[in-house]
């Protein structure tokens, strides 16, 4: 049974240049400086990859919710101007 996925990526502190989100290995959004996406995903474990590009040690925020339940809601720091965050839901 498909599930509803909501993803929100935002700048927390610093210069965020671009946000890229992959869901189940498909590129679903590539946007700056923030990105939000919602859609249906399979009931099977689904990988999510968030890529963020910016300057230095900028901080971004990722919020992921499945069927309205928040899975993760936390800040992440760029390392060397870039960061990759992965989560399987």
């Amino acid at each position: 049974m498909p599930r509803n996925l909501e993803i929100e990526v935002s700048a927390a502190a610093g210069a965020i240049d671009e946000c890229v989100v992959w869901v189940n290995h498909s590129l679903v959004i590539d946007q700056a400086p923030t990105a939000t996406w919602s859609g249906k995903i399979p009931s099977a474990p689904t990988p999510i990859t968030v890529e963020v590009d910016g300057i230095g040690t900028s901080v971004y925020h990722v919020k992921i919710a499945i069927d309205g339940a928040v899975i993760t809601d936390a800040d992440h720091a760029l390392e060397g101007g870039i960061d990759v965050f992965k989560k399987t839901v």
Binding site: P2, S10, A11, A12, A13, G14, A15, I16, D17, E18, V20, W22, V23, N24, H25, S26, L27, V28, I29, D30, Q31, A32, P33, T36, W37, S38, G39, K40, I41, P42, P47, T49, E51, D53, G54, I55, G56, T57, S58, V59, E79, G80, G81, I82, D83, V84, K86
Partner: protein
């Protein structure tokens, strides 16, 4: 002349505020407002208009990722092309000419142009193979109209002339954004033919017995001039310390200037090369992106001809730029 250029450049501050709000994320065509404010040492201009983004990927509610091949990452890069066209009007709210890296602005201007953004995306396995590089290629045209008044022969009858000015820029930027690696070589080629008022001069009245002549008026006594110029610029911002909020940006440009009111910049009047070394600082802040403070020393050297300035001049430039726009670096 050198000291005048130095003091002027030291006092220069450039503020550019660009605001872009995408009207509809789910549409393939996104219409957005475009707003820029520029301030340089008491010479200010506002640019306002719209831009249209073409090819932004759809991500409708209810969309379902189609690739379901287990945990195998996509192997082939996914080419991405996004276009943007814009039309804006620039109007000064101070006086004089606003000089920016890519264009000169005098009185009101109509600007239009477009960009093509090209990205190659591949899902990364971690930070080490992440690659968010992109390239942008664009053209921008600008036309404007201004009226100039002057007093021929320092007389009392004012003459006025109206002229159209124009400029055009072709630019390309390649941004390499990988882990611990960020550099962005860029090229810009600008043709500019902008009318500018002749310099004001003091008019000295006749001497009276026992009293020296006094400056009675400071006016332009010659018609405006228009020097066609072609400026080629190469810049290379890069992150020497990738974990800091600082970028370095060496830049070199050469300007070819032609005869007054001519069309060709290659009539041999003068040429000038200029080198700059920008230090950009990106302060941490919430919400906006691309807040950039910059300062740079510069040196300018006459390469041929005579432009009425010192052969070598130097000084410093300062810039404050705030933008939420997608493509500007």
């Amino acid at each position: 002349m050198c000291s005048r250029r130095l003091s002027s450049a030291l006092g220069m501050a450039l503020v550019a505020v660009c605001a872009t709000a995408h009207a509809d994320d789910s549409a393939a065509l996104a219409l957005s407002p475009r707003l820029t404010a520029t301030v340089t040492n008491g010479k200010e201009a506002i640019e306002a208009g719209i831009e249209l983004t073409i090819g932004q990927p759809k991500h409708d509610d209810g969309a379902q990722p189609t690739k379901t091949d287990g945990d195998t990452p996509a192997v082939e890069p996914v080419p991405r092309e996004v276009g943007r066209v814009f039309a804006t009007v620039t109007t000064p709210f101070g006086s004089g000419t606003v000089v920016r890296i890519d264009k000169n602005t005098s009185d009101w201007r109509l600007n239009f142009g477009g960009d093509l953004l090209v990205k190659a995306r591949r899902e990364p396995t971690g930070n080490d193979d992440a690659d968010l590089s992109w390239a942008r290629y664009g053209l921008a045209l600008s036309v404007g109209h201004a009226e100039f008044g002057y007093f021929p022969g320092a007389g009392f009858d004012q003459s006025t002339e109206s002229h159209w000015s124009l400029s055009g820029t072709a630019h390309a930027i390649w941004v390499h954004a990988r882990h611990n690696e960020k550099w962005a070589p860029q090229l810009a080629l600008t043709y500019d033919r902008t009318y500018a008022a002749s310099g004001a001069v003091g008019v000295v009245g006749p001497a009276l017995p026992g009293v020296a002549g006094l400056v009675t008026r400071t006016i332009s006594i010659a018609p405006p001039d228009a020097t066609p110029a072609l400026v080629a610029r190469f810049s290379l911002p890069f992150a020497l310390w990738p974990s800091s909020q600082v970028l370095l940006g060496p830049s070199v440009s050469h300007a070819f200037s032609g005869r007054d009111r001519g069309l060709s910049p290659f009539t041999g009047d003068s040429g000038r090369i200029e080198g700059e070394l920008w230090v950009y600082y990106f302060p941490k802040q919430k919400g906006l992106t691309n807040v950039r403070l910059g300062i740079s020393p510069f040196v300018s050297v006459l390469t041929y001809g005579d432009d009425g300035k010192d052969r070598t001049s130097f000084g410093a430039l300062a810039e404050l730029r705030i933008t939420t726009e997608l493509y500007e670096y």
